[in-house]
């Protein structure tokens, strides 16, 4: 089944369930797909709606970049150095299971109520998922691959560039997909505090006004943002990990 027909089938199924749920629960609880689409079409003509989309996209993008550039190199380093991993492991294992959202007050205190605190919290959530995946993937690089590279005259940097980085890249993309899912979900929460723009705020605002079609319009936008991100990762993976798709 092609990607396109897969999406058509998934959207059709989802719309059927959604319509059925709306009919069962009533329009005051679940907006119908048609009412949501109408709302989306109206909203898409307002500048304010696009500002919400822009604010959320900006926060996710920044969090992705920050967590990627910090967690991936560190994870790959820890995965390739047993000594460094032995030192860092207890700290990672102690902090990883703690729900990062509990740090929200602290993050707000340090980074203020603006965009930075939201981005930092999202980055923190992604950081651990990327770090652990990168570390474990680097650890799984076979001794034979290391011997092979060293026998060609490669040093530690060559090992990183020609072996560790390319071999761990598929796992990094998987981690990015998983972490992005979490981040889009958490976005709703972080944007509920001290935000004037963002899809999370947009949904909460609609909630306060009992504007059910707007709530569902916001949820649809979050889902679409997820699709855009996942498809982007898929394209990047097809380009950079061609060998893994054969």
């Amino acid at each position: 089944m092609s990607n396109k027909s897969g999406y058509i089938l998934a959207v059709t199924l989802l719309l059927c369930f959604w319509q059925f749920g709306a009919m069962m629960a009533g329009p005051n609880v679940v907006a119908t797909p048609l009412a949501t689409l109408e709302k989306l079409l109206i909203e898409s003509q307002s500048q304010r709606f696009w500002k919400h989309v822009e604010a959320s996209s900006f926060r996710i993008f920044c969090a992705l970049v920050i967590s990627f550039v910090t967690a991936i190199p560190l994870g790959l380093y820890l995965g390739s150095s047993r000594r460094a991993d032995r030192i860092a492991k207890p700290l990672i294992y102690l902090t990883y299971p703690v729900p990062k959202i509990v740090f929200l007050p602290l993050v707000l205190l340090i980074f203020g109520i603006g965009d930075l605190s939201k981005i930092m919290l999202l980055s923190l959530i992604m950081f651990f998922q990327l770090l652990i995946t990168a570390r474990d993937s680097a650890r799984a690089v076979s001794k034979a691959a290391k011997y092979s590279l060293k026998s060609l005259g490669g040093n530690r940097w060559d090992l990183f560039v020609h072996v560790i980085w390319p071999s761990t890249l598929p796992s990094v993309f998987t981690a990015l997909r998983i972490a992005t899912g979490t981040v889009v979900a958490v976005l709703f929460f972080v944007e509920s505090i001290g935000a004037r723009y963002g899809i999370g705020f947009y949904i909460l605002d609609a909630w306060g006004r009992a504007d059910v079609p707007q709530i569902y319009a916001g949820i649809t936008v979050l889902a679409l943002m997820g699709v855009v991100l996942y498809e982007t990762f898929d394209i990047l993976e097809r380009v950079y990990c061609r060998w893994n798709q054969l």
């Binding site: 691959a145 092979s148 060293k150 026998s151 060609l152 490669g154 072996v163 890249l169 060998w243």
Partner: protein, 258 residues
């Protein structure tokens, strides 16, 4: 027991004296090699045979400079071997190709890393010889076992090594492919005259390619006997009565070790 192998041919490339190597595992310390003496040089071919776990591959890794001996002296051209020398190339049992790199990138990787000029016309001659010139854009996972082994050989040979180390290079191949690659290795050796050390479980392979056959055994592994086999790598040697006589000699030695 300590067995020395001294080859008369010069120049001497590698001299190992009293080499020992142990590995610590979860089950405890495993002594892989116990006081091995070895000298390689002068466009000679050596085959290392012996039962599994007798330290053949460990010895090869020491000779490649990829592992350090726990004790003993290992000299490459009379200087201590600290890291893999440029003149030594290694082909591993599982080919050692990188699945994320195309055949072209795999082959040129060693030259790129060493910042050496990549002369593709020269490389293409070798690839034609190895019959893989049409596979440059393929990835290793798109190749058969025999083709992978040819790519691994090409990657090692483009470095123009003076010593080629092969760790059970044809073990995963079917009989026909194995024989074809043995023949090809013979031919390449005759053309290029590098020194070659080959680890193998296959007696015929050892006799066909090893001018000196080192029979290893014991725990920790040692060289238990040395069989001279000067006709190895010569054309028409394979399949002669003398060839099979040598095979029986090696088999007898291996049985005594087992």
């Amino acid at each position: 027991m300590k067995t020395s192998l001294i080859q008369n041919s010069s120049p001497e490339l590698i001299r190992g004296t009293g080499l020992t190597k142990s590995y610590s595992t979860e089950q405890g310390l495993i002594r892989a090699l116990g006081r091995v003496d070895i000298v390689i040089g002068g466009a000679q071919t050596i085959a290392l045979v012996g039962p599994s776990g007798c330290g053949k591959s460990t010895l090869l890794l020491l000779l490649a400079g990829l592992e350090k001996p726990d004790s003993g002296k290992l000299l490459f051209k009379s200087t201590p071997l600290a890291q893999p020398p440029r003149e030594i190339a290694l082909v591993l049992q599982d080919y050692g190709l990188f699945p994320w790199k195309s055949v072209r990138s795999n082959i040129e990787l060693g030259l790129k890393i060493r910042r050496e000029t990549i002369d593709w016309s020269e490389i293409m001659e070798l690839l034609n010889e190895l019959d893989i010139s049409d596979k440059l854009d393929a990835y290793p996972q798109q190749l058969s076992g025999g083709q992978k082994q040819r790519v691994a050989l090409a990657r090692a040979l483009v470095l123009n090594p003076t010593l080629l180390l092969l760790d059970e290079p044809f073990a995963a191949l079917d009989t026909l492919n194995r024989e074809r690659l043995q023949e090809l290795s013979e031919k390449l050796w005759r053309q290029r005259r590098f020194s070659m050390a080959l680890v193998t479980h296959n007696i015929q392979e050892a006799v066909r390619l090893g001018q000196t056959i080192l029979v290893m055994g014991g725990t920790p592994g040692r060289i238990l006997s040395v069989i001279e086999n000067h006709e190895a790598c010569a054309p028409e040697y394979f399949g002669t009565p003398y060839f099979y006589e040598k095979c029986s000699q090696v088999r007898t030695q291996l049985e005594s070790v087992a």
